[in-house]
């Protein structure tokens, strides 16, 4: 019974809790028990809020018993990536630098989840400051792929994807700067949505690269993903980049019929470096869509070949500035032997407080912004961004959505790429275009290859998350993944 309810899609659990068929306490307790059992293997969480979550679950049940009408996700335990601020809870960003940092306020998405009566069950592991594609660069150690614990879960929202995949949370929030939601969603076989830049408030998301960062939901199925997105999206006065034009009800929209869908497949996404199994899986998803009456065309987006380079320059440049505030003066890590002048103190705090990948990106970003290099790196990258945006716009004039792999490769072994940053950077090649252009993109489980998950990525024009979920649910309906194959299912 317990196992069955845990495997039930989150949206269904929400309905059951609302109808008082299942109590939030019972469900939360089962989730916590599951965490207790499987966490030593997976390590999806940095912080688990066992006591407070149970207490809040009981309060939800009481309110329901009194007949109160509660929010859309009432009583669901949700895992939050540890770069999103929850008041009174540590927000470590997976870094020694913020090991002792307790957020003094709630991110807007947290306020929204709480106002829909969702429960915050814990904070999930990530690559330090969201810089990475494998969740190995965490001060707290790596998260493992629930499908094969010798493999990485993708990243940087590896903890968020693994927690949902391993049924340690009903839903989770991640953040996506260059693929950090879609990469682990693909590797862990869950649905991960990177919304349009501006459709979800970034207030309370600790910046990595602020012109690219976007918070998004992860779930085990499309409809649950839509449900969480409906809870967190919308304009926020506290985020000046938040859009006023996003007003969608994705869940409602899912049940509306849609015909005449036209999709495009940019051939650049299938260039060399893409694993055969990945290509095969994505193409099989496309052919399945065809069977459902969807037309597809192969196209070319020539500027895609510069996207990865442009992405890393923009992201690292912004990161070098966003992470400058961590000097140990006001909060965060302070090297033990103090009483130095401020310059030495700042240097020491930053050297010891940051891990090697973060330091590498800060140095590269600092270099790219330096006088004499700014024009040839940062400005050029921004020009590529503009070109890419135009090419995507013209593609979207003819086609509803674009389809590509989420990751060009299969989940790889822990430690395999840790000393080869460039090859790790290469794995973001399919995800960064959506961040550079600000468009929404989703990763949908496409199937397994030798027991390892492969994600299919769908991209849509700005503020057309509805199209992503629609196509996503069509792909989902064609894919039957046997959960018993995953290593996590034996626990």
């Amino acid at each position: 019974m317990t196992r069955k309810i845990l495997e039930t899609p989150a949206w269904q659990v929400a309905e059951k809790i609302a109808r008082q068929e299942v109590s939030s306490e019972e469900y939360t307790a089962a989730t916590l028990e599951r965490i207790g059992k499987i966490e030593p293997k997976i390590h999806a969480y940095i912080t688990v809020l066992s006591e407070t979550t149970l207490e809040k679950a009981r309060a939800i049940d009481k309110q329901l018993k009194r007949g109160s009408k509660l929010g859309k996700i009432a009583g669901l335990p949700i895992a939050i990536k540890d770069n999103i601020c929850v008041k009174g809870v540590r927000a470590t960003c997976g870094s020694r630098m913020l090991d002792n940092f307790v957020a003094p306020y709630n991110a807007t998405v947290i306020e929204k989840i709480l106002s829909e009566n969702g429960l915050i069950i814990g904070k999930t592991n990530l690559d330090e400051f969201a810089m990475g594609s494998s969740t190995e660069h965490s001060f707290y150690g790596p998260t493992k792929n629930p499908w094969d614990i010798s493999k990485v879960p993708g990243g940087s929202s590896g903890g968020s994807a693994a927690s949902v995949s391993a049924i340690e949370a009903s839903l989770s929030l991640g953040s996506d700067t260059g693929g950090s939601i879609r990469s682990p969603a693909g590797f862990c076989s869950v649905v991960g949505l990177k919304p349009t830049y501006g459709s979800v408030s970034r207030y309370g998301l600790i910046s990595y690269a602020n012109s690219l960062d976007q918070i998004g939901p992860l779930a085990r199925d499309v409809r649950s993903c839509a449900l969480l997105m409906d809870c967190i999206s919308g304009h926020d006065d506290k985020d000046s980049t938040s859009s006023k034009s996003y007003a969608q009800n994705l869940v409602e929209n899912l049940s509306k019929p849609m015909s005449g869908l036209k999709i495009a497949v940019p051939k650049e996404f299938f260039d060399e470096g893409v694993h055969d199994a990945v290509s095969k899986t994505v193409w099989s998803a496309i052919h399945n869509l065809e069977k459902l009456g969807v037309e597809y065309v192969e196209i070319s987006i020539p500027t895609l070949k510069y996207a990865l380079a442009a992405y890393y320059i923009v992201a690292m440049s912004e990161a070098s500035s966003n992470l400058a505030r961590y000097d140990g003066l006001r909060y965060g890590y302070r090297a033990p032997d103090g009483s130095l002048d401020w310059i030495s103190a700042f240097s020491k705090n930053r050297h010891n407080g940051f891990g090697s990948e973060v330091r590498r990106r800060i140095m590269l970003g600092t270099y790219a912004l330096s006088a004499g290099y700014f024009d040839q790196y940062y400005l050029k990258a921004q020009k590529i961004r503009t070109l890419l945006k135009r090419e995507f716009e013209s593609a979207f004039k003819k086609y509803h959505v674009l389809i590509a792999p989420s990751m060009p490769i299969l989940p790889f072994k822990l430690g395999e790429k840790i000393n080869d940053p460039l090859s790790l950077y290469m794995s973001d090649i399919d995800t960064v275009p959506a961040n550079l252009t600000g468009i929404p993109a989703i990763s949908i489980p496409g199937g397994l290859h030798k027991g390892l998950p492969i994600g299919v990525q769908v991209m849509a024009p700005p503020f057309r998350e509805d199209l992503l979920l629609k196509v996503g649910s069509m792909i989902e309906s064609n894919v039957k993944i046997d959960l018993t194959l995953g290593e996590f299912t034996h626990v």
């Binding site: 957020a103 000046s240 400058a324």
Partner: protein, 482 residues
């Protein structure tokens, strides 16, 4: 050659807080930080707490536009913010959100100016809107302090930065420029320069043949003139000894009244400016500028012209009156109850200014009101008191706050128009000075001497005109008198 060396070029960089705003530039935190306990008017945004985001204070754009129009600037149509990256303990994010005129950026406004009384135009190249850093408090002086305390209350306060061309050739011009700027800001009501630290100035000074030296931490306009004079003397004396002036940043120590070297710049510091993506571009519509222009209050230059025209004042006096808004307001308030504008203007611009300068006092804190000056001016206008007595009354009223007529009464300073009383004094003076009386018929100087004696005998209470008339009658008979 030696003349060449002496040529001075001064440019100013002025930071003015928009003190009329109730909140900071990018958050809703109270901007009235003065007198508050350190680190109490702060929030996640101005503290740069992880995850916080800036949100533009729209009123700041309005205020900045007012300043731009008042200083004859051209306001940019579309602008965005930049990050100026550098590590310093007064920066909560280790970057400052400001504007930039390169890398695709434009200043808030360009090509402004202020015209000095001499008619000389001081060009102001650009104006930026930016956030104020925190305040660093030292234990004693900057170079001897063993600790630095950071107060973030000031962090995030809205600032405008204006940068002049190096158009000024002496410290006096710099002072006049700043006085004019200050008065304009006061008239606009966007910035109150009398608040401590609300207007701060850095100065660039170079002598022909030498490199540019930047002097920082000049806390008031009086200090600017002092700091510049010190720096010019220092540079001249080094140059005369054959020592080359190097490009450097110096700190004005207002206690010791000297500049001390902070850092020698080998090359320009690299601030790695790049666009602040957390803030969308600001679009300035023509309609917006038109509305701001419509709401503009009267500015000092217009006010001086009005004073000159309405009250028949000299250009110089009018300009003196508008040098500070508080003085110009005081003048107009005084005119509400006085008829003689020129008399009032003279008391305010000559006697009162001298009084305040001597004592280093502020008009704001005086016990006297416009009514005092109106009454005093009218007493002089009506010849109720002599000018000498009026000066006594003036000093008394400033000291005690008593009304002028009350002072005249108690000190018995009312002018005496009773001619029999005057005649008695005249008689006595004539008797005591027979030689002068004899000379007086042909020597104007002797007449003045006699009148002077009469004034002295009466302790200034005799109306000089009356005295003059009676002396003339006595000397030349009634017909010859005027």
């Amino acid at each position: 050659m030696s003349e060449e060396i002496g040529k001075v070029k001064i440019g100013l960089e002025v930071h003015c807080q928009l003190t009329s705003l109730q909140t900071k530039l990018f958050c809703n935190t109270d901007s009235n930080y003065r007198g508050k306990l350190p680190n109490t008017t702060i929030c996640p945004v101005c503290m740069g707490t992880p995850g916080s985001l800036p949100v533009m204070n729209r009123k700041a754009v309005h205020c900045a536009a007012m300043v731009a129009l008042a200083l004859n600037f051209k306001i940019s149509k579309r602008m965005f913010f930049f990050r100026k990256n550098y590590f310093y303990p007064d920066m909560s994010k280790n970057f400052q959100i400001t504007q930039y005129d390169r890398a695709g950026g434009v200043p808030f406004a360009t090509d402004g100016s202020i015209i000095l009384d001499s008619g000389k135009k001081i060009k102001i190249g650009r104006m930026h809107l930016e956030e104020d850093p925190a305040k660093l408090n030292y234990d004693g002086t900057i170079d001897s302090s063993t600790q630095t305390l950071v107060d973030y209350n000031r962090a995030g306060i809205a600032l405008i930065e204006i940068v002049t061309d190096p158009d000024m050739t002496n410290p006096k011009e710099a002072r006049e420029f700043l006085n004019k700027l200050s008065s304009i800001l006061e008239h606009l009501g966007v910035s109150n320069p009398s608040l401590e630290g609300s207007v701060r100035c850095d100065a660039n000074i170079s002598l022909t043949g030498g490199r540019r030296v930047e002097v920082k931490n000049i806390s008031s306009f009086k200090e600017v003139e002092r700091a510049l004079n010190f720096e010019i003397t220092r540079q001249k004396s080094l140059t005369s000894k054959g020592i080359t002036i190097v490009q450097e940043t110096r700190h004005w120590d207002d206690i010791r009244r000297i500049t001390i070297s902070l850092r020698v710049k080998e090359e320009e510091q690299d601030y790695r400016y790049f666009p602040e993506a957390d803030l969308p571009p600001i679009i300035i519509e023509k309609q917006f500028i038109d509305n701001v222009a419509k709401e503009m209050p009267e500015l000092p230059i217009e006010r001086a012209k009005r004073f000159q025209k309405e009250n028949h004042l000299s250009q110089e006096t009018s300009q003196l009156l508008v040098r500070e808004k508080i003085l110009a307001d005081f003048f107009e308030d005084t005119l509400k109850s006085s008829k003689d504008a020129r008399e009032v203007a003279s008391w305010l611009t000559v006697d009162l200014q001298a009084y305040l300068n001597e004592r280093g006092e502020d008009l704001k804190y005086l016990k006297t009101t416009p009514k005092h000056f109106a009454e005093l001016s009218d007493m002089v206008h009506n010849s109720e008191v002599s000018r000498i007595s009026a000066k006594t009354i003036f000093l008394d009223m400033l000291k005690t706050g008593r009304m002028p007529r009350q002072i005249a009464q108690s000190k018995d300073l009312k002018i005496i128009t009773d001619s029999s009383f005057v005649e008695n004094i005249v008689k006595k003076v004539f008797n005591d000075n027979p030689k002068a009386v004899e000379d007086a018929t042909r020597d104007e100087k002797a007449i003045n001497f006699l009148i002077g004696q009469i004034m002295r005998q009466s302790r200034g209470q005799v109306n000089p005109a009356t005295a003059h008339r009676i002396v003339n009658e006595k000397l030349f008979g009634a017909k010859k008198s005027k």
